[in-house]
Every structure is written in structure tokens, then in C-alpha cells.
């Protein structure tokens, strides 16, 4: 396993959403686990949760990219903090398509749906009465499922896109 793969497998990113009593952690490539300020879950509404989870996703993604570039810099022995602008036509085509790429994921019970466009515009939809129906630990697990599914969808679509444009 390369240095990069090893670091990515062991990656841990922790963020908190200011003013929302909500924290989230990403472990490895697909392990997302949220946690609420104790005793607050039952009083939340689905709409609030949708907004807060979208913010959390944005923060986790930003944190993840920072860790990713740190791992990459270590693997390649040079400081890398972002991508250089696309030059070739294929690179430009790829960048454009990637920005428009939509990835999505659902929890097993279908109550939680997340999607993202270009890893930038996040949407979270939570079915009505979810807070009343699911216990906190069940909700946390469902978010984890939806997040993992979205991440895997994104990887699969990126791979298809690269095959299409570069292979």
C-alpha cells in the first residue's frame, strides 16, 4: 500500500457546526459519524436538521480536502495544497464535468437523502416525523449510511468520468 493510501485509510477529520450543537467525524474514506449535544436530539425539527447536516457536510468535505493534500504532500515529497488550473482540452472537459457531477446517497430505510453537486452544493432531505420515529442512535446510523452511499457514488462516478475522458 502506498504512503498515500495508508494515510487516507487512517484519516480522521472532526468538525463542529457553530451554534447547532452538532459535531461530525469522517474516518477513512467513507466512515461518517455525527453526534448531538446531549439531550438536544428530541427537540430538533427535520428542517433544522437538513440545514445543519448540509453545513456539516460542507465542513467535513473542506476538512477532508485539507487532510488529503497534507497526505499527498507527504507521499510525493512536495508541498501541494490544491489543483493547478486545467490546461489540456481533456483536463478542461474533466474539470467542467466534475463540477457538474451529482452524487447521492440514501439511508437503508430511505428516510434520509443527501446529494451534492460538484462537491459544493449540498442538499439534505429528511422524511417527516423522522425525529419522532428514530432514536438518536438510529438517526446517527442512518446518516452514516446515507453519507457512505453518497461518497461511494461520488467515487464511482468520478471513475466513470475519468474512464470516459481519459481512457
Amino acid at each position: 500500500m502506498s504512503v498515500l493510501a495508508e494515510r487516507l485509510e487512517n484519516m480522521r477529520v472532526r468538525v463542529h457546526v457553530p451554534g447547532a450543537g452538532l459535531e461530525g467525524e469522517l474516518r477513512g474514506r467513507t466512515g461518517v459519524r455525527i453526534s448531538f449535544e446531549p439531550g438536544t436530539y428530541e427537540f430538533r425539527t427535520e428542517r433544522d436538521l437538513e440545514r445543519h447536516l448540509a453545513s456539516l457536510a460542507r465542513l467535513l468535505w473542506a476538512g477532508r480536502m485539507k487532510e488529503y493534500y497534507a497526505a499527498l504532500s507527504e507521499a510525493l515529497g512536495e508541498q501541494i495544497s490544491g489543483e493547478s488550473p486545467p490546461i489540456s482540452l481533456r483536463d478542461q472537459e474533466y474539470d467542467g464535468a466534475r463540477d457538474a457531477l451529482v452524487a447521492e446517497g440514501r439511508s437503508a430505510d430511505g428516510r434520509i437523502y443527501v446529494s451534492v453537486r460538484g462537491m459544493r452544493d449540498w442538499t439534505v432531505r429528511i422524511a417527516e416525523n423522522t425525529v419522532r420515529t428514530l432514536r438518536e442512535d438510529q438517526f446517527v446510523a442512518a446518516v452514516g449510511e446515507a453519507a457512505a452511499a453518497l461518497i461511494q457514488d461520488q467515487f464511482a462516478k468520478i471513475r466513470r468520468l475519468k474512464d470516459e475522458i481519459y481512457a
Binding site: G77, E83, P86, R160
Partner: protein, 319 residues
Amino acid sequence: MSFEQLMTHARDIQRRAIEEELELMRRRIGDDEDGVFDLEAPVESMRPQIERKYADVTSLFQPFAEMPDPSSFDGVISQLNQVLGILSAGEAGDAAKDPVNGTIFPANPKLTKVGGTESYIEDWTGPAASAFKSEFIDPFPAVVQNQFIVASVLKSALEAQREIWKNARADIDKIAEDVLTALDRMHDCGKNKWTMTFTVMASVAAIAAVPLTAGASTFALGLAVTAVGAASQVAAAAAPDDPPAIQFSGETPEVIILQMRRAIQKLYEGIADQEAKIADAMQKTNSLVDQHRDMFVTKQPALSRGHPGNIRDLMGYSR
């Protein structure tokens, strides 16, 4: 990671390239054939062809795994340092300074005693005596200085050679590491680009011609030896330019391995280029010493070829 694992990395690269290419086939066939549930049979049937495609990958690294160990030069370099200590006349100014890297060598007090022999041989007269003075005592300091310079040139050339192997090891190790990283990274969202700096190309520094000491008037004036040294050990002003950096990129195993071949080829060329610098300097130094041997070795006394048959005293009698 370390050079010792080079062949392990090489085998990993070959294995990963084959697996990734099979994965690519799996995706392609999966896309083309909707509803085909068993992808494995058609994909596996392509394995021999793909294995052949990457069959030589591991062997490309083998010659580099067999490069000389840089530390194998340490012993002989250390011996030459001792030689320099012995030959150091240590007079004021540059006499005792290694002309390539500026190391100061303290004077060897034994060398100063040669000049003092004159008073011991005042009573010795005749052609042998005057030849001894003019051919041995007088040129002695210059000859020692020139020997010092040649020894220093040899030592620096060895240091430069050692530097080539040290940098070449680091470079081939990085090539292998970068390819493994690229094979992992090609699935990530970012464009798979990486830069390789060929540090071997900055191993050997050319030193401005080192002037030989003319000393007694019989020596040719204005001669200089061409020296090379390890870039890491010469003054910054003499150091070679920054080594070239090349950017590679690849989103499929085929392209990545192609880039790897390019990089390996470039490394070969870099090693040859740097070796040529040392060879060139050594050839020039060798011809110079050959053509002006008397500047480096005092003449053999006629008496050393003498025997009762050919020695006569002043009256012509043999002894």
C-alpha cells in the same frame, strides 16, 4: 521509504498495474454488456494478455537495485584524505587547502626537513651533488604541491562518483514511490499529476581549473588540472544548476506505466551524463600528468642506475 525495498516496490507496481487494468476491463465490459451477470470469465480471459503487457515492469528496476553502494567509496576516500595530510606543505595561503572543497590540511612537519638538508651536504661536491640540489631539493616543494593537487583531484572525483550513486538511489526510489502513489490516486477526484526532480543531474560540479605550481623555472607555466567534485561539497558558486523537474500525469494504469518508463529512461541518461563529466576530467588530468611527469615526480637520479661497471671517480678510476 528506503532503497532496500526497491524490488518489492517494483513487484507491487507490476501487480497493481495488472489489477487496475483488469478493473478497467471489468468496468468497460460491465458498461457494454447490460445484464451480463458473470463478468469474471471474460475479464479473466484477458489476464494473460494484460500480464504480458506489464511483464517487464519489475525487471526495469533491477539494474538500479544493483548500483554500487555509495558507502563503498568511503574507505578509499578516507585513505586519500590521509594522503592529502601527508602531502600537505601547509604554508601560508592556499598551500594546504584542498582546491576543490577548501578543506584545510595542517602542514606535515616532515616535509619541511627537506629544505634543511642543504646544510648537511655542504661538503658533497660534484655532478651528483649539484644534480641532487637542482633536480630534487629545489623542485621539491612544487612537486609536493602538485602531488597534493592531483591527490585532491582524485579524491574529489571519487566523492563526485559517490554522489552520483547516492542521488541515483534517491531518484529511483522516488520514481517507484510516485508510481505507486499515482496508481492509488488515479481513482480520486483530483487530476493525477506529479513532479519528478532528477537530483542525479546535479551530482557533479565542475571546478574552475586548478593551477599547478610552476616552482623551478624548468616547469611549464600556466598549466591547470580539470577537477570535478560532489555538488554537495563544493562552494555554492561552483554548484551545478538546479536539477530538471518533469511533470507526469496519468488516469489509467497504461499511461502511468508509460510515464514510469519515461522517468526511468531519463534517469539512465542523467547517470550517463554525470559519469561523462567525471570521465572527461579524469582523462584530461591523466594526459596532463603523463605529459609533464617531472612536475609530479622528481627525476630518477643517475646513480640509481649505477653499478661498479659504470661509476668512475673524478680521476676516472672505477670503484
